[in-house]
Each structure stands twice: as structure tokens, then as C-alpha cells.
């Protein structure tokens, strides 16, 4: 029997970016919040031995313990789904700060096109442009409506970026709060080459912080040291924007936030109309608790958000056969992991490839979103084309020319020769939802508590293969202009391979929209079927863009916080 705890106004599941942002905004407004986080507590002091490639990057020190909970994956309805037994394609966050502690910090806003993708695609190309089975829909909010929340997110995190308005992306009300990151020689080459080709390169907006910064909450952070242990690592300097050094301390300082770590939420309790609280287990003692609350916010990342709703029987599960129902609908991913990219080998030039920062690089958006004419192309949307300097660590980076054996004398010589003589232009491609890409409960595999795991049904489509083929020509064109001795381009997109890291940009499953029959949450991320439940994160994305997701996730979280305050003030009811 679960021990029933005293009632609280708001309970939040997960203390990553979304949980942290909403907790900060609510507690500043005087609302009492309990934050439940399944992982451990964290601080910058934990990163004393942080520069350890094996422990953090190869052994996933900071990521979810898959022995307790994971997902199962299959490519299509006919295949048997099998557990994601070891980390590969994506890396799930765990612990205070969530994936926000070990992310890179590349901080792009989605495009105006993204939020109205269906209308705008039809407007420009006609309805026939959207192939059978592609379930794109408008998000129920426009870029202009979301702009003030992007601005808020960027000021909180201190996003560093170029000060002029970029012509390829949405209009900004304010310049980035801090100036751009430094420009490395390889970034310079990429930018010069793409400018020559008539494109519009710019330096990544970055949450690594180019200069010392004090945010509107009074949080002061040091500048990035370009230490090259960023992606998959925590930042010992507190330079990288991370919930643990930004929003969480602000919330704690109000005295209104109580964080309970080592607390795994297993169910949202409800009476069929509204949630009454959550059920969770203390990982240390094994005790089960019921936490009653007026409002429940889910911020456990895509997979937890969807699984909790399905296991709690809250909201209508998506059915791929009829296309009805909403929970689990429109799962999407991205096109990356080498596909569409070009590697250049420079025999006569050396670079300090081991230096870097998680969000250091340059990007071209001329072939992203609807920034180019798709009339004669067999796909919609596009990709960011980029060069990154995140710091190449030696276990993970041994790029050799095609035809080189993968071990032995020649491998050793070539991998050493090219360690600091190789550059990569890569793509981050958008991912459209399809009727048969979805999340539901696995019929066979169970988690540590005996609850069904979440099952993913996903593979790449013709839309994706066409996009990769097209973008590959562009990455090759830019690399060629950069003048390598030899180069090789990957034009082919193979079926989804869960063993190769691509990105932790999984999206959908609890999507937002303006119609309760096709979306699960409204544009405050309030559930249509349970007005006191807010489901926050990339789970709300109706498709995935050619950008990293977190700036858009953060903006939506600020909007949710505003919505919850409104909801409390008006004493309940739908916010739209």
C-alpha cells in the first residue's frame, strides 16, 4: 500500500530543462511545487574527474540505467520489437538536470514554417505535395506567438550568437544576450566556402556562454573554457547552461520548491476527468508513495511522458490502423549520424581537432525548412548543414579513408595521420511523421516494477532518403570548396540502426495542436482530456525540424508556466 502524502498545489515529474523551467516560474510566483526526479542529485562538484572519455562518453556515466527501464524498438508493424538493451542511437538523461546536464547546448529556434507546416506546404505547393501517410499538421501556435517565450528562454540561458538578424530564420525581437562563440580555423574555412557558393553561414547559437553573463534571475555564470569535454559530460565551470546551474537554484531559493531525487514516478492518478496526483517509488527504500496534487506536470522526456499516460490510461491511445487516438502519435526523429555528410581529408593541413566546445560550429540554413523551392523535389522540409568543433576525443574518433582496414598496422598509421587532418560537413535533417510511426506499450517486455515498456515503431522513409541524397550534394559542394586532398560523401540512408549514435532528438507522442481529435495537448501543453495535466517537452512536437530541439522545448516550457499560473488564477478550465 502506498503511503499517502500531504497534498501539494503542483507536482512535477522529472527535473530536467522542462521541469526546471516550470518549477522556477511557478515558485517565483509563490506557488509551492514538489519536483520528483528518478535519478540522483547533481552539482558541478561531481565533475572533478570530468575529463574522462571512457567513463562519460563511452560508458554513459550520466545516462539512464537501462537495466531498470528502456524502450523496445521495431522498424514496422510486422517486426518483433526488441529491447534497446544498451545505449546507442540516443542517450536518455537521468538525474537532476536530466539530459540538460550533458547536452551540447546548440540552441536553434525552429522556423516559422515549422509551426504551420501543413498550411504553408499546401499554400506553396498544393495538397498533392504531401504524400500518402505523412501526418504533418500545424502546431496550433505560430512562430510570432512563441517568439516572446524564445526570448525568455534565451535570456535565462544566456544564449551566445551573432548579433545581426539572420535572413534564413525567424525574426527576433532582441539580439542574443551574449556575443557569438569564437571562430576556429575550420569554421572559418566552412563559412568562407559556403559564402562563395552564395549561402548564408552563421555561427551556432550556443548555450556554452561566450562571455561571463548574469541572467534576469541574478544567476551569474563564467565563460566557456572550450575544454572539449562537453557533449555527454557535465560542465565543471558551470559555463554550459544546465538546469542545475540556472533554473533549479532559482526555484530552490524561493523556498517554494521541494525536490525529491531517487523518486521514480510510475503512474498518474486520476478520476477519469482530472488527475488527482501521482504514484512514485523511492529507489533507495523501495517504498511507494502517493503524492496528491491539484496540477500534474510531466517533464520526463518523450518516452516517459508517453509511457506514463499509457500506463495510467489517461488520454486516448493512438491506433495506427484507424489513425485515431492521440497518445503515441507522430513519433519522429532526425537524419544525422553521418548520412548526407562529407568527410574531407587534408594531407597538407593540420587542425587542432581535439579542442572544442559542445555548441561550437557554423551552420548553413539555405536548405532547411522551406528556405528553398521544393517544386521539383520528392521531399519537403530540409536540413541544417554544419561543421562542428566539439572536440574530437581519441576513442570515438578514428576516421580513415574508405578502403583502410579497421585494425592493424595500416589502420594505426592512417588513424593517427588523419586525427588532426580531417574535417566533416554534416547534416541535421528534419523528420516528418507518418501514420505508422508511433509509440505504444510493449506486449512482452517489462521494467523494474513489472510495468510494460514503451514500444517504438519507426523507420526511415522515401522522404528521408530523398532528403539525404539532396543534402549530400550540398555538403559535398561545400567541402570541395574547402579544398581537401580527398573527400567522401555518404549519400545513402540505411534503415534505422539503433546501435549508431544519431541524436537524442526524439519527438512526438503527446503532440500539440488546436483540435482535440488530432492532438493531445493545446498550445499551453495542457491536456485536452485532463485539464490539470500539462505534458511538456519535445513530446509536444507534431514533427521534428532540422535543428536541435531544446530552444523550442524551453520556449514551450515558459509558455506552459504562464498557462499554469493562468489556470490557477482562473480556478481551472481550458486555457484556450
Amino acid at each position: 500500500m502506498a503511503t499517502k502524502l500531504p497534498h501539494v498545489p503542483v507536482v512535477i515529474v522529472g527535473m530536467g530543462w522542462t521541469g526546471g523551467i516550470v518549477a522556477a516560474e511557478l515558485t517565483k510566483a509563490g506557488i509551492k511545487v514538489v519536483g520528483l526526479e528518478r535519478g540522483k542529485e547533481r552539482s558541478t562538484a561531481d565533475y572533478y574527474m570530468g575529463h574522462d572519455e571512457l567513463r562519460y562518453a563511452q560508458r554513459y556515466e550520466m545516462m539512464q540505467d537501462l537495466s531498470k527501464d528502456t524502450v523496445t524498438i521495431r522498424h514496422n508493424l510486422k517486426e518483433r520489437a526488441l529491447p534497446y538493451r544498451t545505449h546507442g542511437s540516443f542517450l536518455l538523461g537521468d538525474g537532476l538536470g536530466g539530459a540538460g546536464s550533458h547536452w551540447n547546448g546548440q540552441s536553434f529556434r525552429f522556423l516559422p514554417y515549422d509551426f504551420e507546416i501543413r498550411s504553408k506546404t499546401i499554400e506553396r505547393y498544393g495538397e498533392k505535395k504531401i504524400p500518402e501517410g505523412m501526418t504533418i499538421q500545424d502546431w496550433g501556435i505560430t512562430y510570432d506567438e512563441l517568439e516572446p517565450y524564445f526570448d525568455k528562454y534565451e535570456k535565462m540561458a544566456g544564449i551566445s550568437g551573432e548579433q545581426e538578424q539572420n535572413p534564413m530564420v525567424g525574426k527576433r525581437s532582441n539580439p542574443f544576450p551574449t556575443g557569438p562563440m569564437k571562430t576556429t580555423p575550420s569554421m572559418k574555412m566552412f563559412m568562407e566556402a559556403s559564402k562563395k557558393l552564395g549561402y548564408h553561414p552563421y555561427i551556432y547559437p550556443s548555450a556554452n556562454l561566450s562571455e561571463m553573463y548574469t541572467n534576469p534571475d541574478g544567476i551569474q555564470r563564467a565563460a566557456c573554457q572550450y575544454c572539449a569535454f562537453c557533449e555527454r559530460f557535465g560542465c565543471e565551470y558551470g559555463a554550459k547552461a544546465d538546469p542545475v546551474v540556472t533554473v533549479i537554484p532559482v526555484a530552490l531559493k524561493t523556498g517554494n520548491l521541494e525536490i525529491r531525487t531517487q523518486s521514480t514516478v510510475t503512474r498518474v492518478l486520476h478520476d477519469g476527468k482530472k488527475a488527482t496526483g501521482v504514484l512514485y517509488v523511492n529507489n533507495i527504500t523501495g517504498e511507494e508513495f502517493e503524492q496528491p496534487a491539484d496540477i500534474v506536470m510531466l517533464g520526463g522526456f518523450v518516452f516517459t511522458n508517453v509511457r506514463l499516460l499509457l500506463n495510467s490510461k489517461l488520454g486516448k491511445p493512438y491506433d495506427p490502423n484507424t489513425g485515431t487516438g492521440v497518445i503515441g502519435k507522430n513519433y519522429a526523429y532526425q537524419l544525422s549520424g553521418g548520412a548526407g555528410g562529407t568527410v574531407g581529408f587534408f594531407d597538407d593541413k593540420e587542425f587542432s581537432n581535439f579542442m572544442g566546445a559542445g555548441a561550437l560550429g557554423a551552420e548553413v540554413d539555405d536548405f532547411n525548412g522551406d528556405n528553398f523551392d521544393h517544386s521539383n523535389l520528392n521531399f519537403i522540409h530540409g536540413a541544417g548543414i554544419r561543421i562542428a568543433q566539439a572536440g574530437e576525443r581519441p576513442i570515438a574518433n578514428n576516421t580513415v579513408p574508405k578502403g583502410t582496414p579497421s585494425w592493424g598496422k595500416e589502420f594505426k598509421q592512417q588513424s593517427i595521420k588523419y586525427a588532426n587532418r580531417v574535417l566533416k560537413v554534416s547534416m541535421q535533417g528534419s523528420s516528418m511523421p507518418f501514420r505508422h510511426h508511433f509509440l505504444d506499450l510493449d506486449p512482452t517486455y517489462k521494467d523494474q516494477f513489472g510495468l510494460p515498456l514503451l514500444r517504438m515503431t519507426f523507420d526511415f522513409e522515401e522522404q528521408d532518403r530523398e532528403q539525404v541524397k539532396f543534402i549530400a550534394q550540398k555538403t559535398a559542394e561545400i567541402m570541395k570548396e574547402m579544398g581537401p586532398t580527398t573527400m567522401q560523401t555518404t549519400t545513402e540512408l540505411k534503415p534505422y540502426d539503433v546501435t549508431v549514435y544519431q541524436s537524442t532528438h526524439n519527438t512526438g507522442g503527446v503532440i500539440m495542436g488546436s483540435d482535440p481529435s488530432t492532438s493531445a495537448v493545446n498550445n499551453y501543453l495542457q491536456m485536452w482530456d485532463a485539464e490539470n495535466v500539462f505534458v511538456v517537452g519535445a513530446s509536444a512536437f507534431a514533427h521534428n525540424s532540422g535543428y536541435n530541439p531544446t530552444a523550442t522545448v524551453g520556449a514551450l516550457a515558459y509558455r506552459t508556466a504562464e498557462g499554469i499560473l493562468k489556470y490557477i488564477k482562473q480556478g481551472g478550465g481550458s486555457l484556450v
Binding site: L54, L82, I219, E350, S352, T444, T499
Partner: protein, 253 residues
């Protein structure tokens, strides 16, 4: 610093002060605060020299392998990453000790991985590892397979074969067609052996491989530096004296 070399005695403490990260404010604490807290007794250079003087490496003993397993692993890893005019190979870098220690670690036991059945080991490779075996088991089966195969084919131990013969055997194992193992495949074992060898060459020396950071030195990898803010805009390859996590230990004192 004209040649791009870092000054030898940059202590963590003065680094933090000079780079202006020792700020007040609401946050930053943790490591930074601790580093600035006390006085520094020994300079880092003295600390490094003390270690180099040490002759006995107590880390070089076995946690998992028996002697035979160790010898096969040492010989096989050397073929994957051989000694040449660029520098030492896996053997001299201590890679077999590294692999031994790792197989005894939580990673060797697949401790943080989902190991509940049912298992379908013959599933498509792009659905990932689906074997009920733990890594240390795959390794033991694979090493036994290497020994058996060499006995059958050459009537010798793997470690007694010529380099060319060893390469040929490893190729057979990599391809995974000619020789069968029970419960796993030679190619699954080879993949593990290869990736563990690369890890042993390039992981921090505290794990038992990458002896004296020689793996890093061969490719001008500087290991654990505080940061590159000062040099990252420079053209060409900037060279540093590498540092390990052990060097970091003296910094917080």
C-alpha cells in the same frame, strides 16, 4: 608560448584565477570553490616526476583473466594496434591489463543494460545487442575459440604463431564465417576485442592502458587540459604536453 607549448606549471588554481572564472555570484561553487580553498603544497611538476620515478606498477595484475587468457589477449591486441615506428603497440601500452580490468568492471557484467528475456540473439543487427551473454562471457568464449582454432589449424597456441598467421586467424574471426562458437559468434567477439583495444590505447592511463600517455602522444592528443580558450582560434596543430586525470589530483590540494 610562441611555439604553442603550454607553460608547464600552470596550476589549476592560477588557471582559474587568471581566466577570471573565480567569480562570486549565486552559483559556480563545487570544483571551482574547492580548488581555490586551500594552499597548494606541491607544484604539479614535482607531482608528475614523483610518479615517473615509481618503478613498480601495482595496477599490472589480473582481476579477471587467467594467465592463458591474458597472453592470448595481449598477443591479439598487439595485432590490432601493433608497435611501429610511430610508437608502442597495445602490448607495451598495457592494453591487455586494461581489458582484464574492464571485464571485471560493471561494464564487463552489463550492469547498466537491460538483460531481461526473452532473447532473440539472431535478430537483425540494426536492433542492437540481443544476446543473453555478458561481455566477460563473450570474451571468455571468444578466447577459448581462438585457442581451439589455432590448435586445430596450426597445432600451436595463438601466441606462438607468426604475426602473419595471427593476422590471418583474426581475419577469420572478424569475418565470422569459418569457425563457430557456442552462444556467440567470432565476429561479435572480434568486435568487442577491437573496440576494447582502441579504448585501452586511448583511455586515461588510470584504467591500466595508454601507458605513460604514450597512446595520446602518438597522435598529439593532449588528454585532460583545463581548456583551450586561449588557443582555439590559432591556425594549425597546437601542441601540448599531455595531462592525465592523475595530474588533476594535485590541483585541488
Amino acid at each position: 608560448m610562441a611555439d604553442g607549448k603550454q607553460p608547464q606549471d600552470t596550476s589549476r588554481r592560477s588557471f582559474l584565477k587568471n581566466s577570471g572564472i573565480a567569480i562570486g555570484g549565486l552559483i559556480v561553487g563545487g570544483v571551482v570553490g574547492g580548488a581555490l580553498g586551500g594552499g597548494q603544497k606541491t607544484t604539479q611538476k614535482e607531482e608528475v616526476e614523483k610518479v615517473v620515478e615509481k618503478t613498480v606498477d601495482y595496477n599490472q595484475a589480473l582481476m579477471y583473466f587467467n594467465q592463458e587468457q591474458f597472453q592470448i589477449t595481449e598477443a591479439a591486441a598487439e595485432r590490432i594496434y601493433p608497435k611501429d615506428d610511430l610508437g608502442p603497440g597495445a602490448k607495451d601500452l598495457g592494453v591487455a591489463y586494461y581489458i582484464d580490468h574492464q571485464l571485471a568492471s560493471p561494464w564487463g557484467m552489463n550492469a547498466k543494460e537491460y538483460m531481461q528475456g526473452p532473447f532473440f540473439p539472431d535478430a537483425p543487427a540494426n536492433l542492437g545487442m540481443q544476446s543473453p551473454l555478458r561481455r566477460h562471457e563473450i570474451f571468455s568464449i571468444g578466447l577459448k575459440g581462438l585457442a581451439d582454432y589455432c590448435q586445430q589449424k596450426y597445432s600451436k597456441k595463438f601466441q606462438e604463431l607468426s604475426e602473419e598467421e595471427q593476422d590471418a586467424v583474426l581475419k577469420v574471426f572478424e569475418e565470422g564465417k569459418e569457425f563457430k562458437l557456442v552462444g556467440t559468434t567470432t565476429s561479435a567477439f572480434f568486435k568487442l576485442l577491437r573496440s576494447a583495444t582502441i579504448e585501452g590505447v586511448y583511455s586515461d592511463p588510470m584504467y591500466g592502458g595508454n601507458k605513460d600517455m604514450q597512446g595520446w602522444k602518438m597522435r598529439n592528443y593532449p588528454g585532460n587540459q583545463m581548456g583551450y580558450a586561449k588557443d582555439i582560434e590559432k591556425e594549425g596543430l597546437v601542441k601540448y604536453e599531455p595531462k592525465s586525470l592523475h595530474d588533476h589530483m594535485s590541483m585541488g590540494k
